[in-house]
């Protein structure tokens, strides 16, 4: 299973496995700051791709560690536009405000599951699952069916508030949420 923290995760964040949730969060915020775009210590060191790569590694490491520490995961919405955003969301669901498709994909990948495996478990066709992850709205079924799909999908990925996820996804699809 890939959602169990690896020794490298702790090394990357510079913390011990028996650390408190609070210290883990602090370490995570520090690392995010260190590799953020304007960081004095790293701006001349790496190119954008490398920066993104390491930020993704940090996100994944903290996601795995925070699960073990039974804390909500960080906002894993590490999409390009948001990856450098250091503000901590007040949201307690762990579900991002937007880009929920990529969020689902990341959650799936963190669990080491293929689309096929999710399809088998949820009895939703892989093409639908893929369309959901890719946010190909035009290829998705009507909201009334889609809601059920989303909730099944989220539950298969151990996302607690499946209902909230479905609501947000559909709201985004229907354009209820204005772009910032």
């Amino acid at each position: 299973m890939t959602n169990v923290p690896k020794p490298e995760d702790y090394i990357l964040l510079g913390i011990e496995p028996d650390t408190t949730a609070e210290d883990a969060e602090k370490a995570y915020q520090r690392m995010k700051g260190l590799y953020s775009e304007g960081s004095l210590a790293t701006y001349s060191l790496m190119n954008e791709d490398e920066r993104r790569e390491i930020l993704t590694r940090i996100e994944r490491a903290y996601l795995r560690i925070s699960k073990v520490l039974s804390r909500r995961p960080p906002d894993p919405d590490s999409d390009d536009a948001h990856i450098f955003d250091l503000t901590v969301s007040q949201d307690t669901t762990g579900i991002p405000e937007r880009h929920i498709g990529p969020f689902l994909r990341r959650c799936r990948e963190d669990l080491g599951m293929t689309l096929k495996e999710v399809a088998k478990r949820t009895r939703i066709r892989t093409t639908h699952l893929e369309s959901i992850e890719e946010e190909r709205y035009s290829q998705l079924p009507a909201p009334v069916y889609l809601r059920g799909f989303l909730m099944e999908f989220a539950r298969a990925l151990e996302i607690e508030d499946a209902e909230e996820l479905a609501t947000r996804y559909i709201a985004l699809m229907q354009g209820d949420v204005p772009e910032p």
């Binding site: 960081s39 004095l40 210590a41 001349s44 390491i54």
Partner: protein, 321 residues
């Protein structure tokens, strides 16, 4: 404050311990820091030589508070004298001697390979406890070689983008230089050269990826490089910090070097901007004597303590030759 542990200090009659102070950029405070680290060691009763390897723009004597000496490295390089001992001059600070690089001709700024080897050989035979080298700016091979031959290599960095950038460049250049020198005999060189040639094509950006790529070409060679990387442990000092945000810079650079280069860099501490430094230079008196309780002086004491008594493993570079 850690206890004074005599066993960690060089034994009488043994080789001197060499600290080299560099920094990719000029004007970051290398000379002031070198002089005052040496003065601190001298105050602790250690016999100590401060040596100006900055042949282009030497000014270590001024920082120590003395006029330019009659004999300098130039005399050694021009073979007017045969031994470094002949150009070791007394300073106003007891236990401290100076080897000055001043008056060096511009063409002397890059001594020939044999001259450099001669300096290095003689350095380790001087009968003192510590030798502190004030390296010039830049990343010329001569500077890197003095940095690498030292028991402790120390980089001085200012909290500004150009200085940080230069420091990374220095660390990378020193590391590659070290690999090059270390791999001459072992046959690893071929794999390194191959990987370096393909550097751009294979997207090798950092020592870390270089080692990974050499491992793909030749696993044993990769392991040898990994060993070299583990033994390369430069130190950094952040000088002239002013803002709260600067305080974590050393730690941040250290973390970034670990993640990105795969190199452990030890952050020795920060030195806050302190007006006493300028005042002391105008008085032509070492700041540690003029203002022994100033923030600058206290930072120097802490850094020396760290270098002398820190539990962190310190590799003896001389045994690797």
């Amino acid at each position: 404050m850690e206890l004074f542990d005599v066993s960690q200090l060089p034994l009488p009659g043994s080789q001197p311990c060499v600290w080299a102070i560099g920094g990719g950029k000029g004007g970051v405070g290398k000379s002031i820091i070198t002089a005052n680290l040496a003065i601190r060691l001298a105050q602790m009763g250690k016999s100590c030589v401060a040596m100006d390897v900055d042949l282009g723009g030497a000014n270590l004597h001024t920082v120590i508070g003395m006029p330019s000496p009659d004999y300098t490295l130039t005399d050694f390089l021009k073979k007017k004298v045969s031994s470094l001992r002949d150009i070791m001059v007394n300073t106003p600070v007891s236990n401290l001697w100076l080897i000055s690089g001043s008056r060096a001709l511009l063409e002397m700024a890059n001594p020939k390979y044999t001259q450099k080897e001669k300096i290095i050989r003689q350095l380790f035979s001087l009968d003192v406890d510590y030798i502190l080298l004030d390296l010039g700016a830049g990343t010329a091979f001569n500077i890197l070689d003095f940095f690498l031959v030292a028991n402790e290599g120390i980089l001085v960095i200012l909290p500004e983008p150009t200085s940080v950038e230069n420091a990374y460049h220095f660390i990378k250049a020193a590391f590659y230089r070290k690999l090059k020198k270390a791999t001459k005999k072992t046959g690893v060189a071929e794999a390194v050269d191959k990987a370096m040639e393909e550097k751009i094509a294979r997207g090798i950006q950092s020592p870390r990826t270089l080692i990974k790529n050499v491992m793909d070409i030749n696993y044993q060679a990769g392991l040898a490089l990994k060993d070299q990387a583990d033994r390369f442990r430069p130190n950094i000092i952040i000088n002239q910090t002013t803002k709260v945000i600067d305080q974590d810079l050393g730690k941040d650079i250290s973390t970034a070097c670990r993640d990105y280069f795969g190199i452990e860099v030890r952050a020795l501490g920060n030195i806050d901007e302190d007006d006493h430094v300028r005042k002391a230079i105008r008085m032509k008196t070492p700041i540690l004597e003029a203002y022994p309780a100033s923030p600058f002086a206290r930072s120097i004491y802490n850094i020396v303590d760290r270098l002398l008594f820190s539990k962190e493993a310190s590799y003896d570079k001389r045994t690797q030759a």
